[in-house]
Symmetry: C2
Subunit: 191 residues, 2 copies
């Protein structure tokens, strides 16, 4: 018997991504987001949501571009800091020691130290309430060679990402491989 918890964000564990933007003056800024997700395969699109009150919100509206840098556990403190500080109050790059790299294809910076980067141009903006939902088309993905496998896929244990647990507000790492998608369930086909 399930119990009602009310209307809230209680959805398990979700990815933690760091969004890079330029402000009006061309100063790079960073924001940590967990209200994120893939939303289309073709064109490849992702969504990231920000409160209107955040500095990054205005930057995305102005520049119509953003990057997503996927942090490794190695940078979990820096990533958390980026989520609790505001670009209005100080330079997050200086505080964290992270290095901005100007994307050559979208008008936004990414994090040099993070091994996986998605460069996006803004294609949709949807006002939902407290958050604005920005949908970006991925125009390129860039990765450090050290996290790549032979076939060009990311080795998730080398990327070593982490997740935000909704409700309890903790971070958890990734666990072991459990199996192959679109294969494990095949044995149920003829039941």
């Amino acid at each position: 018997m399930k119990q009602s918890l009310g209307a809230k964000i209680m959805a398990g564990a979700v990815p933690v991504w760091v969004v890079g933007v330029y402000d009006k003056e061309g100063k790079p800024n960073l924001a940590t987001a967990a209200w994120v997700g893939v939303c289309c395969s073709d064109p490849p699109c992702i969504g990231v949501s920000f409160r209107k009150a955040t500095y990054s919100h205005g930057c995305i509206v102005d520049r119509k571009a953003f990057t997503v840098s996927v942090p490794s556990v190695e940078y979990i403190k820096e990533t958390d800091y980026v989520g609790i500080a505001s670009g209005r109050d100080g330079d997050k790059w200086q505080a964290t020691g992270l290095t901005p790299v100007k994307s050559e294809i979208v008008d936004a910076p990414y994090v040099s130290e993070f091994p996986l980067v998605l460069e996006c141009r803004l294609i949709h903006t949807l006002e939902l309430g407290l958050h604005t939902h920005f949908i970006g088309e991925i125009v390129d993905v860039k990765a450090e060679g050290v996290i790549l496998e032979e076939k060009g896929n990311v080795d998730i244990l080398k990327l070593n990402p982490f997740f935000y647990v909704t409700g309890k507000r903790t971070y958890h790492g990734i666990g072991p491989q459990l199996g192959k998608a679109h294969a494990m369930g095949a044995e149920l086909r003829n039941k």
Copy 2:
């Protein structure tokens, strides 16, 4: 030095959710989705994306409601099956042994055996290309008491969710707790 991988979905690991819908005749159907995410805190909203060709796509359009049931690793084979079969070809409930429960507050069924359920009413539909992005307002969350902690939060290790690795198409479990969000980075504040 990062290498370019091209414009594709290569974003690390993302949550695996099972979406429940009724079709026009009131028959319950299930679909596994990894193109999902939280997208607003107030009202609490999540997004799920489906290809137009899927049976569930039409059901969401017709019924303007869906549920998300978050599967535990215990049901990974059933969840994978739900992602590779079509509701047009047979009854996924019968093949998996999963049990539909009619939501009392939205026009959609959820999975009895899965410990966490989000009941949603459709509030936005966005055509992105191959996928349609459906945004649902969470009107209630329901959970089995056995996965809840004292404060009413979900114990993520008891929920025991799993993730889909984009690119390589594998499933991975959740790892250990790494720290408290909005706290770990505080020490960088005065750097």
